[in-house]
């Protein structure tokens, strides 16, 4: 039996050894060493987390002497749930990444740095979930943000990548500022950085403001609108295994933070729940609308992440309403659906990013309009992407339906409420969620259809081939886990029920019975899904039997009597989603670049036409603000003049100022 302290020491030692060793081992083995370390860490922390899922909270106090005093480390159910998700997704990411980065084997030092950062990235995320001390939390949070930012800019020769990385860095630091303000506020009120101080704070002060500060801070990470603008830049820029892990878990760490703060709340549940639901429905709609029109398939997946954060947020909002209305059913269904969707989304989103990465590795383009017909050259990747696409649309028989169903049930159970404004909010949320589902079908049929179906639209420099087993293997593992969630949901529902039953927020009288009831319904649904698969199999069997011996010709596609072959005339992703973009033109800002035909022009000349969709919030919210900020800060440009001498002077002035201030007892 390895205890908590031993686990921590062991994992730190192993990671440190691996970081040193990675410099000395041959190029080929570097990724294997990283995979091994990530695996060991995932196993170590999952092993101690597993009992915590079922109620045994484990604690440990890290003594840092005078520096920060005793730092409490605690793994309760909530932490354990997120730690296990982080562990699993990082593991698949590192295995996939080993295959994905094969083509980059010439740049040795970069690979060293990359794998070291990846290991740190995983550890810091796990530590964020364990640390229950404000300052230490911020430090781990910062390591997580910085390491992920460095991972994003792997292809640093590309100025666009650097730009996205810096964008990410800046936004993450606004988030850190908000979090720091929150923690310091609690510190000043209670004199402690321990998370337990939140209980004291929320008992004595208004809940709403501190919560909103934290919600904004964590919302940056999670990607609620209008704080989402880093996602569509950072995800396409990062190498695919990194974007898979980032989208799969790093945005979920933001959700973890929100959950953590909620678990300390004492009042104002109803108001906060309504705020969260409203924002979440809008986030979901906005995310999926953009996903439907974008043609960079990794950017499209990034927008889809925003959509799923919206769905998770709806769950959280319902849970809050349950607490506010004293309705245990809503509490369990809302938070339960949100937690399960966190798991589900981490699975199918990493799956989609990995398979999209396989496409990128083979074709070297992220523009889906240049692709087509890849199902013939990369059949396995195509099927994997198809499974991910169906699952993420929340369609049975896959796992996405399970969590979306719980959230729908929460919304419907909430309809038993008596308050008119809640009812209206709920019915609009149901409508919103159904529209999200509908548009996600549009978005994913577009993406899958354009990339994998039809014929190739452009001759590519290299003929795409199926990717290596090393890249396919983690994707198969993810599919197996997805199927486990879809067909044996009761395992996960029980764990979630346990987590929720023990959350510190819980009041007496919150019976879990209703949730268990739903858990039975959901395991029945998985049975019906099995029935569905049987029906498909039977019809397929009948079909095979009937068409046996009949003629089956193969001819070109019916071109309405036009017999020439024009792959370029295929329906494109752009044209597929154009009607939607047109209806919602006020939100999906399309910018076109072309030269008008002049009146005197008689002879045809070659022309260029480009059209791009822009992010509404980036264009009208983020950009104007940053523009004004830049305008103001221009006056302070003289401070950063690039001369080391000046910087030394600043340092001296600062030290003297601190000295004088403390000597005179001003602070």
């Amino acid at each position: 039996m390895i205890g908590f302290d031993l686990t921590i020491n062991l994992s730190l030692t192993i990671t440190l050894c691996a970081i040193i060793a990675i410099f000395f081992i041959p190029l080929k083995l570097k990724s294997n060493l990283a995979a091994l370390t990530v695996f060991v860490n995932a196993v170590l922390y999952s092993r101690i987390s597993l009992p915590a899922l079922y109620g045994n909270v484990i604690e440990y106090s890290l003594n840092t002497g005078n520096f920060m005093g005793n730092i409490p480390l605690r793994i309760d159910g909530l932490s354990a749930w997120f730690i296990m998700i982080v562990g699993f997704t990082c593991l698949t990411g590192v295995i996939y990444g080993g295959g994905y980065l094969k083509t980059y084997n010439s740049t040795k030092s970069e690979l060293n740095l990359h794998w070291i950062l990846f290991m740190l990235f995983q550890l810091s995320m796990i530590w964020v979930c364990m640390l229950q001390h404000g300052l230490a939390f911020i430090i781990a949070w910062e390591i997580m943000s910085l390491s992920s930012m460095m991972l994003v800019i792997f292809e640093h020769n590309n100025p666009k990548t650097i730009k996205s990385g810096i964008n990410y860095l800046v936004q993450m630091h606004i988030s850190v500022i908000l979090l720091t303000i929150g923690f310091i506020w609690v510190y000043f009120q209670t004199g402690s950085f321990d998370f337990n101080a939140f209980n004291v704070f929320f008992n004595g002060n208004a809940n709403i403001w501190l919560f909103l500060i934290f919600f904004l801070g964590f919302g940056f990470k999670a990607g609620f609108i209008p704080l989402h603008t880093w996602l569509p830049h950072a995800h396409p820029a990062a190498p695919s295994h990194v974007s898979g892990v980032m989208s799969g878990v790093i945005v979920k760490i933001g959700i973890y933070g929100i959950f953590r703060i909620i678990s300390f709340l004492k009042s104002d549940f109803l108001l906060l729940g309504e705020i969260i639901i409203t924002f979440s429905v809008l986030t979901g709609l906005y995310g999926i609308l953009n996903a439907a029109v974008h043609r960079d398939f990794k950017r499209m997946l990034a927008y889809c992440t925003i959509e799923n954060i919206g769905i998770i947020g709806i769950g959280i909002g319902i849970g809050m309403m349950g607490l506010g209305n004293n309705n245990p059913m809503l509490y369990y269904l809302g938070f339960g659906g949100a937690l399960l969707h966190v798991l589900n989304h981490s699975l199918f989103k990493s799956l989609l990013f990995y398979s999209a990465g396989s496409v990128y590795q083979q074709t070297h383009t992220r523009n889906m309009e240049r692709l087509g017909g890849l199902i013939k050259s990369m059949p396995k990747t195509a099927v994997i992407f198809l499974i991910g696409a169906i699952a993420i649309g929340g369609i049975p028989p896959f796992n996405g339906f399970v969590s979306e169903f719980i959230i729908y049930s929460g919304l419907l159970e909430g309809m038993k409420s008596n308050s008119l404004n809640q009812l209206i909010l709920l019915i609009l949320s149901i409508a919103g969620l159904s529209v999200i589902g509908g548009i996600s079908i549009l978005a994913f049929t577009k993406t899958f259809g354009t990339i994998f179906l039809g014929t190739e639209r452009e001759k590519l420099a290299h003929k795409p081939e199926e990717v290596s087993v090393r890249m396919l293997f983690p994707q198969y593992v993810i599919i197996i886990v997805m199927m486990t969630v879809a067909f044996f949901p009761q395992i996960f529902m029980n764990a979630i029920g346990n987590i929720l039953q023990r959350m510190s927020i819980l009041r007496s009288g919150f019976e879990i019975a209703g949730f268990t009831n739903y858990s039975t319904i959901i395991s029945n649904i998985s049975r019906y899904s099995a029935v569905f698969i049987c029906i498909v199999a039977i019809i397929w069997g009948v079909r095979t039997f009937v068409i046996r011996g009949k003629t089956a010709e193969t001819v070109p596609t019916w071109g309405c009597a036009y017999v020439g072959s024009v792959p370029k005339a295929q329906y494109t992703g752009k044209s597929f989603s154009k009607p939607l973009g047109k209806i919602l033109g006020f939100l999906l800002i399309e910018k076109k670049k072309y030269v008008e035909i002049k009146s005197g022009e008689i002879f045809p000349i070659s022309r260029k036409y480009a059209s791009n969709y822009h992010d509404f919030f980036e264009l009208f919210f983020i950009k104007p603000i940053s523009k004004h900020l830049v305008y103001g800060t221009n006056y302070f440009k003289f401070i950063q003049n690039g001369r080391i001498q000046s910087y030394v002077i600043y340092g001296i002035v600062f030290i003297i100022a601190i000295f004088i201030i403390t000597a005179l007892n001003i602070i």
Partner: protein, 301 residues
């Protein structure tokens, strides 16, 4: 069990009745009521032609599409009697299973690489997406009104208490009828008899399907009509015993078919650009039902 067989029987006649209605209105004699089924049987016996662009997706899609509708049929109740499958929130399952079928029919159209079929696929995805909130708000409102969450419980409890609920049922009939038209790509959203690929929705998606697969797709369309007809029946039968409900079932299905035929005879197809507005207006009718439910429950105080 019973409802399953009833829907199958209704599906056999449904399309034939629509066609007959249309031919009577246009002054023709028209084909026999069973002609659509005979067409399907003929198709089942034929060989197939596949496009060389297509992959396995194209082959498996009609099967999945058909299976999804069969699965949705299992959920439909018959007044107070349950369907094969009944649980809290089964109408979510109903809608999402149908969505799976739609997903496959869309990607199968894209699999052919034809620009026309892609066009149809895009429209199908858009219009069915727009119709989604109308259905969910409708069912949500009925759930609110009755306090139950499954098809069978909702329909069984719908008319207990007051007769005003029949007014809501009539509004709901309109919504479901229109959803059926959208789902089956009929007038006024789409004209199945048009001869120009550019203006088709559903018909253009299946241009390349032939033989058994085309037969399956056509059958699916008939079944879908009968399923939505059965939902409309459910809005009215409530707790009436079997003896009356079975004739009622066929009468209402018959009326629905005639209504569809009449709409198709006297309306022109909307311009594509106007469809979105029309379908979205359906959502506002659903919202009307929601407010009706609130009024009946006395929550507006």
């Amino acid at each position: 069990m019973l409802i399953f067989i009833l829907i199958l029987i209704a599906a056999i006649f449904f399309s034939g009745i629509i066609i007959r209605t249309k031919s009577i209105f246009s002054g023709r004699k028209g084909p026999g009521i069973l002609q659509p089924i005979k067409d399907v049987i003929r198709l089942f016996r034929k060989g197939s032609v596949y496009s060389q662009t297509t992959s396995f997706v194209f082959q498996i899609a009609p099967t999945v599409y058909f299976a999804s509708v069969i699965m949705a049929m299992l959920v439909v109740p018959f007044g107070q009697y349950k369907g094969f499958i009944s649980f809290n929130g089964d109408f979510i399952f109903f809608a999402y299973v149908l969505a799976l079928g739609k997903f496959f029919s869309i990607i199968s159209a894209m699999d052919t690489g034809s620009s026309f079929e892609g066009m149809g696929a895009s429209r199908e995805a858009l219009y069915s997406m727009l119709a989604e909130p109308a259905f969910f708000i409708l069912m949500g409102s009925l759930a609110l009104l009755t306090g139950h969450l499954s098809f069978q419980e909702i329909f069984a409890a719908l008319h207990i208490g007051s007769y005003i609920t029949y007014a809501l049922a009539i509004l709901a009939t309109f919504v479901i009828l229109m959803i059926a038209m959208i789902e089956n790509s009929r007038m006024p959203i789409d004209d199945p008899k048009t001869h120009l690929e550019l203006t088709m929705i559903h018909e253009v998606m299946i241009l390349d399907n032939s033989g058994f697969d085309l037969g399956l797709i056509l059958t699916t369309g008939y079944l879908k009509f009968a399923i939505y007809g059965a939902l409309i029946v459910n809005l009215f039968v409530g707790v009436i015993p079997y003896g009356y409900t079975i004739p009622m079932f066929f009468i209402i299905q018959f009326l629905v078919a005639i209504a569809i035929g009449t709409i198709e005879s006297f309306m022109a197809r909307f311009r594509m650009g106007h469809n979105a507005q029309f379908i979205f207006a359906l959502t506002s009718v659903s919202l009307l039902i929601f407010f009706g439910a609130l009024l009946i429950l006395g929550k507006f105080i």
